[in-house]
Subunit: 371 residues, 2 copies
Amino acid sequence: MESPVFGITPSARLRPSPFYEATLAEGVTAFTTYNHMLMPTSYGYPEEEYWRLLKGVSQWDVACERQVQLKGPDAGRLAQLLSPRDLNNCRVGQGKYVPLCNHAGVLINDPILLKRDDDLYWLSIADSNIWFWARAIAAERGLKVEVSEPDVSPLAVQGPKAEDVVASIFGEWVRGLKYFWFRDTEIEGIPVTVARSGWSKQGGFELYLMDGTRGAELWNIVKEAGKGWGIGPGNPSFCERVESGLLSYGGDTDEATNPFEVRLGKYVDLQVSDDVIGIEALRRVQAAGPRRHQLGVVLDGEEPTRLGFNWHPIASNGQRVGALTNCVWSYRLKKNIGFALISTSCVAGERVEVLKDGDATGGTLQELPFL
Amino acid sequence: MESPVFGITPSARLRPSPFYEATLAEGVTAFTTYNHMLMPTSYGYPEEEYWRLLKGVSQWDVACERQVQLKGPDAGRLAQLLSPRDLNNCRVGQGKYVPLCNHAGVLINDPILLKRDDDLYWLSIADSNIWFWARAIAAERGLKVEVSEPDVSPLAVQGPKAEDVVASIFGEWVRGLKYFWFRDTEIEGIPVTVARSGWSKQGGFELYLMDGTRGAELWNIVKEAGKGWGIGPGNPSFCERVESGLLSYGGDTDEATNPFEVRLGKYVDLQVSDDVIGIEALRRVQAAGPRRHQLGVVLDGEEPTRLGFNWHPIASNGQRVGALTNCVWSYRLKKNIGFALISTSCVAGERVEVLKDGDATGGTLQELPFL
């Protein structure tokens, strides 16, 4: 199940994270690239790393989850233009998961929006260039807002014991943080925003490091504090996120995917405002009904699959009906599982065939999440 | 000088190219990512690959050089809005190297524009998301143009013997193609656009494959045809492009770089049209004079450097004056060389200090290209 080993040629187009040296010291063995940064994807023991997240606590270099900062008198107006989720009730100190769409209603990112002040927002983005997008909209509409990339790099602490670790570092107040809410603080003089957040369903926090020169220090503070709880290095877990039904923008979406197709309809408020980008297209999609939806597939067979680059066609009764957008061996289900982006004519419980690596493999559709 | 070897974890966010299987068969050993695709960067013999490009002919998987297609009655208008280079005299069948800037005059890409028809353009882009950018501008300005990513993947044939190889495949007419001009053709039923182009100064062509299912076939046609000229696999050469003074967008540029700073002023026509994006900012920059410029640095010492991820600070008389944006061992000059993005107060011939890997190394500024 491990990936093939190739060199990644260093270049200034790919930025190392502030935690890069710390992850090398931990023995990182594999990376992906994300927002033009290297993100660790393995420390060589994938199953051990998985169970650490499920049963204990794990620390992740997710600096590649960059911030698009909107600052100025029109920052709030731009944030609302960019997202079809109603932000009117978003308070300072609160975060919200927001789809971003283009004018055709196509999903172009799914960040966490952090309202830091009435005139200061961060979009903590998935893997697509929202600086260009936001700057284009701001400039074309003549808004008074500066769009920039601040020196902010998240370190995630995830797993059922994460709260104990983070409380031991920053204080008991972190236990009172509501989901996606955040607060600025510091530790040993390092400025950090602590948010209850993270790309797993095992609970935890993201520590937004606000001084890129101090990555190794923050990494080691968390590592030391976590020793009593058995903390170790990890990364967003392909297996756990698929089991938990978490969307990967760009992995599970294509150039035509709208939020309704990938279970984000609950974050779309169609009446929010007529000038929100994509809102008219989204109203049309909702009125007509989306043509695809996202389901889980449990594949037949007991042989753990290898991770792959491609989507795999899905057929039903000999007709192509969609694609498997990811596929991974579930350590808990002991099955290969994945997400189907598939015709709404196909529903949970149905049998399908997945054309993968030259073979047709049977599978059963089910609702997400798997677990 | 080889890069550290890590795994690249497969995921659908990183697309393999149509030539991926062919490059695996050739023994590719390292990749980078570029426009969310894997691009081969080594076949394990960097010096041999370099001399093959300089003395012979080399074939490269540069499918990651994606096309942003502009199609519709306003395609030409959008193309001109996006670039400050005057496109009025661009003819069908002609390509042009064009800077793209944002509203602040900052460089956001430097594609080859291919005018395929009066209502059909391709921007053959460097490593940044111009689909989002072009769609934002088109939609905000109400233009009648569709922005899409067609199934088009370049395979480069580069080196002094490239013309012989490409002529042997497609016919003697290719010898008459002027630089950046192109023509549609086919070989064994595979649709291909042949352009005189490529990211080296050793001469050659790019074959734009227009059917992604036939990458291995096209790769092997070139491989077979090139045997008599000693063709072999290669990739954009870090060494050759630095020696030749070729810019890498995103590697040699930052969030504030304008075209005048990086030797692209000759591609900026300040009188082209008032509604071109960034033109007012570019006029201000030109009037005030850019604060930085791009020079070469020849570093002291005879020990080949390792490639790195970071820019390196450059100091003159103890003051920080700029950064070394790349650094590579030149096989021809037998020196470490790189590009400086540096204060215009520093000029060719001056001595500087580069702070690299914890040490200060002396160097001498010179005009680009090196060779």
